[in-house]
């Protein structure tokens, strides 16, 4: 079965097409990692066209869609999730969401990505690759996160430890989605991992408009 994989949880958008065998083996046919910053909505559908063309496939050949659910900056994160949901809906395909951090690196590690506001999103994994802590959001200084770190090397100084550069990959997304792809009926609904409440506090009292 061919799988379309998408992620927009970080400033690098990812689109990939992979063949997944019945035994779970994954062969990536095409992949684009585009450093698109805040332009995910502009560049994601063109990237999907590109990977389909490179894989010699059309959406008609795709059997399932996998998307990262974050955590990540909200505005960009939603672009990938709604794109995956819409493509799957229009083509009548199953769609599977996974924690984006699960798709970064492999083995025993702690994944850190930029959460802005001087914080990191993080999750820790054991030697079998299973997530044992997180995902969560924290200020890196003094957080005493377990190493070794992979993800965004810009946080090395603030973590006081090296961070091996790694990003979300098609292979990582399919690995994280394996259980749900084997049983799409059991796939969880696509709920973004926001980890933060919306930035809005109800005013406790309204001041008179004319108070100067």
């Amino acid at each position: 079965m061919l799988v379309l994989a998408l992620d927009t949880a970080t400033p690098t958008l990812l689109a990939g097409v992979a063949r997944r065998s019945a035994d779970g083996a994954v062969e990536v046919l095409a992949e684009r990692a585009v450093p698109s910053g805040t332009r995910h909505a502009e560049l994601l559908t063109p990237a999907i066209r590109d990977v389909l063309a490179e894989a010699g496939a059309t959406l008609g050949d795709i059997g399932a869609v996998v998307t990262g659910l974050g955590p990540g900056p909200f505005t960009g994160l939603r672009v990938g999730i709604v794109t995956a949901a819409a493509i799957a809906d229009a083509r009548g395909l199953p769609v599977v969401g996974v924690c984006s951090l699960d798709a970064v690196g492999d083995g025993a590690r702690t994944v850190v990505t930029d959460a802005r506001r001087k914080e990191v999103y993080w999750a820790a994994y054991d030697a079998s690759g299973a997530r044992v802590q997180g995902p969560d959001v924290v200020r890196p200084e003094g957080a005493e996160l377990p190493g070794p770190f992979v993800g965004d090397p810009a946080f090395a100084a603030r973590l006081g430890a090296p961070v091996e550069a790694a990003e979300v990959t098609t292979t990582g997304l399919l690995r994280a989605a394996a259980g749900q792809l084997d049983d799409p009926a059991a796939a969880a609904p696509l709920v973004p991992l926001y980890l933060r409440r919306p930035d809005a506090t109800p005013p406790t009292s309204f001041k008179p408009v004319t108070t100067s």
Partner: protein, 344 residues
């Protein structure tokens, strides 16, 4: 040959709108709103609106298809609001529309939200007379537009220099202890009041002021001062008269400027749009003044005046019929998209 079926997406503010239009026929207009979640904040919170758009998107598409009795595979083109609006909110609809267009292998038309407010009237009153004048008033916009060709050429004559008209309604409602959004409760209270009871100021109506621009900030402050002075003096506030007099000031300025713009530009058709166009006094005064000036007034039903997906589909349908090229594959959202860009 049947006319093309166009699927329209609107997410510029708090309404998730998905509509289907065939030619100039409205087939469905599905809407989800996060308004109730914004009420306690006294205004639309962008992040809350964006989260709600994501949750509502696919279910709202399903409702639009079911109401229209069509399949997604029947869709011939997709249209989407590309701006102006709240960036985070716009991006949910834009990404969804691009994905549906890709998956259904049909062209995608990004459209200007303001032009869509004008186009929606064609679903109820037939082809737009061109040139027309358009007065669009809502919580997000207050614009006076000259429309020589809605598919290609729209000119901004005037806009608010401070608050949108709808914002003024929200703020005055708050002063009078009414709920958000302020439009409907002020309209209701005003029916029991006298619009000439209090002479509130008419902004930007002096001889040297920009003839087509609006200002509602001074009016809002004047209402607040008037009410606070009453309260300080321990006197009761005549809520109905305040509401009616405020509403009269807004309707007076809007209609006077719109009629003047028609006269100055030799245009004899005026279209109203936006949520504030649902205000009963604005509608009545516009009818009265247009009739006196020999102008044909076109006002969509209140449901189509507020933001919805059908208005986007209506403009998309018009662009298809006019042979306008679809948007580029790297179409993005533009929170301050200028009105002269009808199809970014």
């Amino acid at each position: 040959m049947t006319e093309p079926l166009v699927l329209g997406f609107e997410t510029s503010c708090d309404e998730t709108g998905v509509g289907l239009v065939r030619g100039r026929t409205l087939l469905s207009d599905a809407l989800a709103t996060s308004m109730a979640e914004h009420e306690r904040f006294g205004g639309v919170v962008p992040e809350i609106a964006s989260r709600a758009h994501l949750e509502a998107m696919v279910p709202t598409v399903h409702r639009a298809l079911a109401e229209a009795g069509v399949q997604a595979s029947d869709v011939d083109a997709v249209a989407v609001t590309a701006g102006p609006g709240l960036t985070g909110a716009l991006l949910v609809g834009l990404a969804a529309a691009k994905a549906y267009a890709l998956a259904l292998d049909v062209p995608l038309y990004g459209v200007n939200h303001l032009a869509a407010h004008v186009a929606v009237d064609e679903l109820q009153h037939g082809a737009l007379e061109e040139p027309s004048m358009a007065l669009l008033v809502s919580g997000g916009h207050s614009s006076l537009l000259l429309v020589p060709d809605l598919s290609r050429d729209v000119v901004s004559l005037g806009r608010t220099v401070d608050d949108a008209a709808g914002e003024a309604f929200d703020k005055v409602a708050r002063v009078l202890g009414m709920p958000f959004p302020g439009g409907p409760p002020i309209d209701r209270a005003a029916r029991e009041g006298d619009g000439s009871a209090i002479a509130f100021p008419r902004g930007l109506t002096g001889p040297r002021d920009a003839p087509y621009d609006f200002s509602f900030s001074g009016l809002k402050t004047a209402v607040a001062r008037w009410v606070e002075a009453r309260e300080r003096a321990g006197e009761p506030v005549p809520v109905a008269d305040v509401a009616a007099s405020f509403q009269e000031a807004v309707a007076d300025v809007l209609t006077a400027k719109a009629v003047r713009a028609c006269r100055d530009h030799g245009v004899d058709h005026l279209v109203l749009g936006g949520g504030v166009a649902a205000n009963s006094r604005l509608r009545a005064l516009a009818e009265e003044r247009c009739a006196a000036a020999g102008i044909v007034l076109r006002v969509p039903s209140p449901r189509l005046c507020t933001d919805n997906g059908a208005m986007v589909a209506a403009l998309g349908s018009r662009l298809v019929a006019a042979g306008v090229a679809p948007s580029a594959p790297d179409l993005g959202a533009d929170s301050s998209l200028p009105i002269d860009v009808v199809r970014p």
